[in-house]
Symmetry: C2
Subunit: 162 residues, 2 copies
């Protein structure tokens, strides 16, 4: 399923949204929960696998410029104006079914995962700022539970692996 | 990525939800839009590829009984009580990146896709009725735009291919 011959080192699932809201800090005794929100745009769920390095990031920057055919009628980029981006770290995407259990042995370490995730967020911010005035990039807190609310006019779910 | 040696013939993306609402009939001049809704449970986005036959369905019935490890703390089945199921046909899941375009050449024909989708819905209804009193299976209208609203306490997105 990878773009290249080698093993998959990053998996993303993309969904379009009219609005998406993600918790970035749970409530505690001192403060209420904190959220980020985007309006029309795209949610990217992302998971890195063992073996992923910075080399993969350059390829991944293309995600936002990929042209998608929807309903054989609409040809548009995954991220059109006005389009914002919400990036959701999603380790469960690394799950692999073994019998009736899911295993996550192929997931990258937390340290490397956080580093690549942060670099991916930075890359998206850079790409999007260059492409679309007014669009924003929001992102979840790596390692947290991703409490998400999504409103779509059709999610047009895509899988992209790298 | 497939469970077996052969090519992938069905792709599913699974997300847990607190509530999910899906349009099954758009508004027209005579009537308002119609929706189905589940509360706590799982959303299954599904796409069949060329070569998929009824043989694949028996394997897919296991989806609901797959045990998932989340956050290394919670071990639970994808569908626990009380857990309902919302099945969303999602042809875009068959998209494959070619350069900066997505292509859908590997998707099954609409006729065969509808037949397998209907059979999968029936299978899920049967499996779930046997497993969980009170749980329901709702599903989208094949071929329609899947206008979806999702509220989660963490989607725990999984990919399962068959």
């Amino acid at each position: 399923m990878s773009e290249k011959d080698g093993a998959t080192v990053a998996r993303t699932v993309l969904q379009q949204c009219l609005q998406a809201r993600l918790q970035v800090k749970p409530a505690d005794e001192h403060s209420e929960a904190q959220f980020v929100q985007i309006d029309r745009g795209m949610v990217i769920y992302i998971c890195f696998f063992k073996g992923a390095t910075d080399d993969i990031l350059a390829k991944m920057g293309h995600i936002m410029h990929t042209r998608v055919v929807v309903n054989k009628l609409i040809a548009k980029k995954l991220l059109e104006l006005p389009g914002s981006l919400l990036i959701v770290p999603q380790a469960t995407l690394g799950g692999k079914a073994k019998g009736r259990a899911m295993q996550y042995h192929n997931n990258i370490s937390k340290e490397d995962g956080l580093r690549l995730y942060s670099a991916f967020v930075s890359l998206c911010q850079k790409e999007l700022t260059a492409a679309a005035a007014g669009a924003t990039v929001k992102h979840g807190t790596y390692g947290n539970r991703q409490v998400l609310k999504l409103d779509t006019n059709g999610p047009y779910t895509h899988l992209m692996e790298f």
